[in-house]
């Protein structure tokens, strides 16, 4: 991790570590259930019946950041799982299946009571089935009905007119699946699910995302970027996993206030900023230093990633008369927002313009096939909008094939020949 400039970042990291320690205590000492879930599953439903939920992607990022991924991934290779299979969504599984191969962070994942995944890409079904088998735990599947109609400017429609964003049959299907999930969670926890509490929680989620929206606005409009992208991500991720909680809202506000103070005081992440960069794709968790590597040499700052921007645009839902439908409308199209044409390309260009982006680095993931789709549309759309693009081929958790020096040299050349001309 690059050096931290914000107090909020330190608080977010400490919170996550403590949260996980509390989880292990609850599971091991108090024998309470927890759930292991994909990042796009609605965490709110679990929290409202007091079942803590661990995100697969968050855990993979932690394993990679602790430099343990190569050990587990070598064990996967040795077991005959070919290298074109997705490593990001399966690193957590590997840390369980091949536990002896590495040193999983903070004592490793305890056995969950339930695993839950949306069946977006084809591999996730397999990974979660294998994982559930390994743990001897139950798997709850949320199937992903495909979108036949994708209206323009989804980020506008999603806030107030979210019923128009998702076709009625898809929305009804996801609502009914979430209702079944709630029944299952009630049975596991022994607690009754409170729909008013869901509405209140979603209102808090809206408030939290409005705060992130304000932070995004500060970053987009400040003369120089006030907060590094890596610190944006740490603060957003710690908050999103417990979104709508009192801590999350308080932390989002503290983060906002600190960023605003920096803007008011004219403090920049990289004083003398010359180039504003955006990163499109999941984070390069095994080499986060990459994102600050071009500050000293070129005054080039990563300003934007999806992690902060997606919060307000993807999560805010106004009009919560039917909170489950609102939640379903958010859940139904995550992949389409972020990876698929026309939505992902349209949003990337919109965000690039809003943030005065000078150059975009687009991840070409080596093994994540779903995340790899749509990127040619994004690259072309950005170039057509006058924003130079540099594709970066990498795996976000697998450092074994990563040429850190070569990638940095490519970026330097890109900055010198296309961005800072």
């Amino acid at each position: 991790m690059a050096d931290r400039q914000l107090e909020a970042t330190r608080a977010a990291s400490a919170f996550q570590k403590q949260w996980f320690a509390d989880l292990r205590r609850r599971v091991f000492d108090d024998r309470q259930p927890y759930a292991l879930i994909q990042a796009d599953v609605p965490f709110e439903l679990f929290d409202l019946v007091d079942i803590p939920a661990v995100s697969n992607q968050w855990w993979a990022a932690i394993v990679a950041a602790k430099r343990q991924a190569p050990n587990f991934l070598d064990a996967m290779d040795a077991d005959g799982l070919h290298r074109d299979l997705c490593r990001y969504c399966s690193l957590g599984y590997a840390s369980t299946r091949y536990a002896a191969a590495g040193d999983a962070p903070w004592g490793g994942l305890p056995t969950p009571r339930l695993l839950c995944a949306r069946l977006t890409c084809d591999c996730i079904h397999r990974v979660f089935e294998l994982w559930a088998d390994r743990f001897g735990a139950e798997l709850f599947e949320i199937d992903h009905p495909g979108a036949g109609d994708l209206p323009p400017r989804w980020w506008d429609l999603g806030r107030y007119r979210w019923r128009e964003l998702v076709e009625p049959h898809r929305l009804a299907f996801v609502v009914s699946t979430l209702e079944r999930l709630v029944s299952r969670l009630e049975a596991i926890s022994g607690r009754a699910f409170d729909r008013d509490a869901l509405r209140q929680r979603l209102e808090l989620v809206n408030q939290q995302e409005e705060v992130f929206d304000a932070v995004r606005g500060l970053i987009a409009t400040a003369p120089e970027c006030p907060v590094r992208m890596t610190e944006q991500i740490t603060n957003v991720m710690a908050t999103q996993w417990v979104r709508g909680s009192q801590w999350a809202l308080a932390h989002a506000r503290a983060f906002h206030d600190e960023v605003k103070r920096r803007v008011d005081d004219g403090v920049a992440a990289c004083p003398g900023e010359r180039a504003r960069l955006m990163w499109i794709g999941a984070g390069l968790w095994h080499d986060t230093g990459f994102y600050t590597a071009f500050e000293p040499s070129h005054r080039a700052v990563f300003v934007w990633s999806m992690y902060l921007a997606f919060g307000p645009d993807g999560y805010i839902r106004y009009g919560l008369d039917d909170p489950m439908a609102a939640l379903a409308s958010r859940t139904a199209s995550f992949n389409e927002y972020l990876h698929n044409p026309p939505w992902a390309a349209e949003w990337s260009v919109h965000q690039a313009r809003q943030h005065r982006i000078d150059g975009a680095l687009v991840l070409r993931p080596r093994s994540m096939k779903p995340a790899a789709t749509g990127r040619l549309f994004i690259e072309r759309a950005l170039e057509d909008a006058g924003i130079p693009v540099l594709p970066i081929e990498a795996d976000v958790v697998d450092a074994r094939g990563w040429d850190a020096d070569g990638a940095r040299a490519s970026v330097r050349s890109f900055l010198e020949t296309r961005v800072l001309r």
Binding site: L81, D84, H125, R126, G148, K369, T373
Partner: protein, 355 residues
């Protein structure tokens, strides 16, 4: 390409619905043919050959006169292909292109899925009827189901000639079995019955019997490569060979529901639940001497089953080999060497078993 063709990317769109609407199914398959126009617009390593061929056809105007292009939800790559095709049209990348439709038949086990699927089959029927101007009655649908079931029965008889000892090579029989999907049922019954009659009169084929597993293949090039080493491919996990016919579709009061249930349960692809595939595989392993697992570069799914499959095959002492090339590419010397070693080992074990 005729205006009465409904083009699809995988045999998981009910052909009975297509025919009842007065149209003809045409399923695009993989090929060795280059796809230069598609290669510019599709990311490498994600889309299987059949989808690259389909996009190539779309971009070069070959699908301009189809009644509809119906992309089923068989895999994530199919779904992405649907979204890409829509976007190519929206952006004017291709203009001479038939309307593209998503057939979103889900295959997971949730209790909400059958109703969702039933509505999707009704929607498909409505869409195709609107194109042809022919709205089939329930009796029309039952008639198509009955005709297809008769063809299924003949396809099953043909497949029986591969077991327990084959009388026909895999490379020869795969096109006959695959024709079930596109040929008019009455003509298929006639053709396949005649083929079965001829094959029955042949002597049994020697050589180890091979099961082709992994990502389903939609052509016979890999069969030819395997059989060039003296083996005989006697079964495939997939909808084109052994799985073409499957069980009959039930004939009852609700033919649309019967079709939705059949295609949800029997369509083999990347979204088929793993326990269904495992059960299918187990029934096939009793009558083979070796297994080839095809895992092309676009595979995101079937590779996950490899460690468990390897354990099963080792327990059964079945030689096996895993091939990572696209089945439409010429196998590498290393692949040929691996196939040769597998066939040799299987032959030795076959001889030991039979003295």
């Amino acid at each position: 390409m005729r205006e009465s063709h409904v083009v699809t990317s995988w045999p998981s769109v009910p052909v009975e619905i297509v025919r009842a609407a007065g149209l003809y199914p045409l399923i695009i398959r993989g090929a060795a043919r280059p796809t230069p126009a598609a290669d510019v617009l599709l990311e490498p390593g994600i889309f299987p050959s059949r989808l690259r061929q389909l996009v190539e056809d779309a971009l070069t105007g070959r699908l301009a006169h189809a009644a509809r292009v119906v992309i089923p939800r068989t895999s994530d790559a199919d779904y992405k292909c649907f979204l890409y095709l829509r976007e190519f049209v929206r952006r004017g990348v291709t203009t001479a292109f038939a309307p593209v439709v998503l057939f979103d038949l889900l295959q997971s086990r949730g209790p909400d899925v059958p109703a969702y699927d039933l509505a999707r089959v009704h929607a498909l029927l409505g869409e195709l009827s609107s194109v042809s101007g022919r709205t089939p009655t329930a009796d029309d649908l039952r008639g198509e189901i009955s005709r297809a079931n008769t063809a299924r029965a003949v396809a099953r008889r043909l497949a029986e000639l591969r077991r327990p000892v084959p009388r026909v090579s895999g490379a020869e029989v795969l096109p006959l079995l695959a024709a079930f999907w596109e040929m008019e049922p009455d003509r298929y019954v006639e053709t396949a019955t005649e083929a079965a009659r001829r094959i029955t009169a042949r002597p049994r084929l020697a050589g180890p019997r091979v099961l082709l597993a992994g990502a389903p293949v939609d052509g016979h090039s890999l069969h030819e490569a395997i059989e060039s080493h003296g083996a005989v491919v006697v079964a495939e996990v997939g909808p084109w060979g052994s799985g073409a016919a499957g069980d009959d579709v039930r004939i009852d009061d609700d033919p649309v529901a019967a079709l939705a249930d059949k295609y949800r349960a029997d369509s083999i692809g990347a979204r088929t639940p793993v326990d269904s595939l495992r059960r299918l595989l187990q029934t096939m392993l009793d009558e083979v001497d070796a297994v080839v697992v095809s895992l092309p570069p676009d595979d995101a799914v079937f590779g996950w089953d490899c460690p468990a499959l390897r354990d099963v095959l080792q327990a059964r002492r079945l030689p096996h080999v895993c091939l990572r090339e696209d089945p439409y590419e010429t196998p590498t010397p290393a692949d040929h060497a691996a196939l040769d070693a597998m066939v040799t080992a299987a032959s030795r074990m076959q001889e030991a078993r039979h003295g």
